[in-house]
Amino acid sequence: MKEKIFEIISAAIEELNEELEYEELENVTVDTPIFGGETGIDSLSLVSLVVEVEGNVNDAFDANVTLADEKAMSSRNSPYRNVGSFVDFIVAKLGDDA
């Protein structure tokens, strides 16, 4: 499951980066920073990314999860701070949905 989620996030980041062209978003790994640190994307790009990933996760797992989170905009605790934390966040959400 984690691999599939990683693939979905990775593909969405690659698509987003076709516009952004950020060097740190090339060759996505679990450590790739997404939001809140020195590097990473702005809040508008984050919203687009999360919306894209949410739709694809729901399609892939025939699920009904909403990737909304109180800490979304927190630089320290955001589940979107890097690819690894985003994967874990989705795994937990899918667990709640099951």
Partner: protein, 231 residues
């Protein structure tokens, strides 16, 4: 033709709007807690509680799978309850906020995500003249709709970058079940506070929604348009 989602289509203004836009050729997807007793061409119905987060997400995803897009959202579903503030149970306030505010919030969020992906959308929420008129006996209802008006103006800013406009229409009393329990005297008093002193009609509402949802209205957002000259 554009695809439109309208909440609360079982009766009253919602049903009228479903018929109005089906007649104009739109594909209309409606919803209500219980089934509808009408059938329309190009109309599809979902049974759900608009305050049920899971159900709303599921419906929007299902509409997207079938139609590929949602161009327009009319957040019509609403309930009211008339009572003196000092005699209003908290459970009534919760029920009113659930449908009027949480329901509007959830549909704006879920349909907003679908619209953001397509970089196009028109959202019209439903306010009421009871809020600006500070109508006595309508504390819970007016407060829930004041929250809707503020949500409308605020998310209009956040969604502008996605080419989504968010506006609201604020009807005066219209002869529907919503005001069934309100006395004629009370309605007359209310109508006398309007600049134009008559009951609202269904067409008054669709006249405003027609304008707000047209593609040419892409420079109109964050507006709450009250009917009857109330401001």
């Amino acid at each position: 033709m554009p695809t439109m989602v309208i909440t609360g289509t079982r009766k009253g203004i919602g049903r009228y709007l479903a018929e109005h836009y089906v007649a104009k050729g739109y594909k209309v997807v409606g919803c209500s807690r219980s089934p509808v007793d009408f059938e329309l061409e190009r109309y599809q119905h979902y049974e759900l509680d608009v305050a049920d987060e899971k159900a709303v997400g599921k419906m929007v995803r299902s509409v997207m799978r079938e139609h590929g897009q949602i161009d327009i959202l009319l957040n019509n579903a609403g309930i009211a309850s008339m009572n003196h503030f000092l005699l209003t149970p908290l459970s009534t306030v919760e029920r009113i906020f659930q449908t009027n505010f949480f329901g509007t919030f959830l549909f704006c969020r879920e349909v907003g995500k679908a619209m953001a992906k397509k970089k196009y959308g028109r959202i019209v929420n439903f306010a009421t003249v009871a809020a600006p008129l500070k109508l006595e006996g309508e504390a819970a209802y007016a407060a829930s709709k004041a929250a809707v008006a503020n949500l409308t103006q605020l998310i209009a800013k956040e969604l502008a970058e996605f080419n989504i406009t968010v506006n609201a229409v604020g009807p005066t009393p219209v002869a529907t079940d919503l005001i069934r329990g309100v006395s004629d005297d009370k309605i007359d008093d209310l109508i006398n506070t309007q600049s134009i002193k008559r009951m609202g009609e269904y067409r008054d509402i669709s006249n405003v929604t027609d304008f707000l949802i047209q593609p040419e209205s892409d420079f109109v957002t964050g507006q709450v348009i009250y009917l009857g000259g109330v401001s």
